[in-house]
């Protein structure tokens, strides 16, 4: 196999790898179940950045009792 063909094969492999990354994620998007999560604003004001909105998922916030105690022992938590 000459150098040119080897080179194009390597480039094809690079592009194939990137396409695989896209394809895998796209496949999940097309075939996966759609889940809608409520978003909540976090830190809407900053002294330097001014007014802005940073969104977080509501379920990400475990509440003040979690912060104090951590997860309840022997109980599973699914997110």
């Amino acid at each position: 196999m000459n150098k040119k063909i080897k080179f194009y094969l390597i480039i094809a492999l690079q592009i194939g790898l990137l396409l695989a990354m896209v394809g895998r994620s796209q496949f999940t998007l097309l075939t996966g179940d759609k889940v809608l999560l409520e978003v909540v604003p976090v830190d809407p004001r900053d002294i330097f950045a001014g007014e802005y909105v940073r969104l977080n998922y509501k379920i990400s916030d475990m509440g003040p009792s979690y912060d104090r105690k951590g997860p309840a022992p022997r109980k599973r938590c699914h997110l």
Binding site: K3, K6, F7, I10, Q14, I15, L18, V22, S25
Partner: protein, 362 residues
């Protein structure tokens, strides 16, 4: 875009061959665009993979290009990516990355020799030094006994220097000789410099009391043994050399042997005051030996390095001791006088030596 720049680059460098540098530049751009593509896709699809995996994927994609087309710029990026991957993975998982030395030994070092890429070799040696530190740190659980690693690095510096001596005999790779020697001298000087401070000398002495210091010293014994092997190879190859070159080689080997003996003495007698005095003597001897060898071998780089080492050592000790023992006003006034006069004198001598070397080479 990846396809376009690579096809254009290949045509300009190989098929038509009229713009080889532009062609290499375009293929280098192709390697960068491929890496950019990985991060863009990961961002677009919120791929929740570990950050360092992207660097490994990038490395895996461009290293074959460096191998096939002997593009040293691509190899340099690939070497940096591999080292970056290892460092970040270690930090993420808090465990040594055992795959890294394997990839270095089987992929990068052979490629550096195949492409004769000095810059990549320097990068990978620097990466390896970081890996050794991280591996020891995580293996021993971040214990203070890591101060013992200073002996490994000092020994590693001597090993690199002796590797450089052997490379001078290899026709195809003799260009690496100076590089190995310079890198070895820099590593040796840097760690001897580090241990010359009172606090770091104390840490090393304390580390000797740790129960695991023998396992860390094994690393030193290993590199010291490799240095001896290199010296034996160099002596066996020296039969080809004529009188003055042979004398120079023996001078280099004697210096390397003295450095190894000096380190062994430090290990045998761990004491803070002894380390303080002794490491200063080693630093002074290293600077003088480099100037001597540089002049003898007609290598301006060594003379310059020797003068820089001497200046760094002198200024450090002046600041270190002068700050403690001199009144502040006298310290600053004397500092200015000493720096100005010393710099002028040293620069004059350095220029004289370098000029003598260059006229001798011509």
């Amino acid at each position: 875009m990846i396809l376009a720049v690579n096809i254009a680059g290949y045509r300009l460098r190989f098929t038509r061959g009229d713009y080889p540098v532009l062609g290499a530049g375009l293929m280098f751009l192709g390697s960068i665009v491929y890496g950019g593509g990985i991060w863009l896709i990961a961002q677009t699809y919120h791929i929740s993979s570990l950050y360092h995996s992207g660097l490994l994927l990038w490395f895996a994609g461009i290293t074959p290009v460096a191998w096939l087309l002997e593009l040293n710029a691509v190899l340099l990026v690939s070497t940096g990516l591999l080292s970056g991957w290892s460092i970040i993975k270690c930090l993420d998982f808090n465990t040594p990355n055992y795959l890294y030395p394997f990839l270095v030994a089987t992929v990068i070092v052979p490629l550096c020799y195949k492409n004769r890429s000095g810059a990549s070799l320097v990068t990978i040696i620097a990466g390896f030094c970081v890996w050794v530190f991280q591996a020891a740190y995580y293996y021993f659980g971040g214990v203070p006994g890591l101060a013992m690693m200073v002996f490994f690095y000092l020994g590693f510096g001597i090993f690199l220097y002796t590797t450089g001596i052997v490379h001078a005999f290899l026709n195809r790779h003799s260009g690496f000789s100076l590089l190995y020697k310079a890198l070895g001298a820099i590593i040796f000087f840097s760690f001897a410099y580090g241990i010359s401070f009172s606090d770091s000398a104390r840490s090393v002495v304390i580390a000797f009391k740790a129960p695991f210091h023998f396992s860390l010293l094994t690393a030193f014994v290993f590199v010291a043994a490799l240095s001896v092997v290199n010296s034996v190879i160099a002596i066996s190859l020296s039969k080809k050399l004529s009188g003055p070159s042979k004398k120079q080689l023996y001078c280099e080997l004697i210096f390397a042997g003295c450095a190894l003996a000096a380190l062994s003495l430090m290990i045998a007698a761990p004491d803070r005051v002894f380390y303080g005095i002794y490491s200063n003597l080693i630093l002074f001897a290293t600077a003088i030996a480099l100037i001597f060898l540089g002049y003898g071998k007609r290598t301006a780089l060594f003379v310059n390095m020797g003068f820089i080492f001497f200046a760094v050592h002198f200024i450090t000790r002046y600041v270190d001791w002068g700050w403690q023992y001199l009144p502040r006003s006298a310290f600053f006034i004397l500092f200015g006088v000493v720096v100005l006069a010393g710099a002028a004198l040293m620069e004059k001598e350095r220029r004289k030596l370098v000029k003598a070397i260059r006229s001798g080479n011509e």
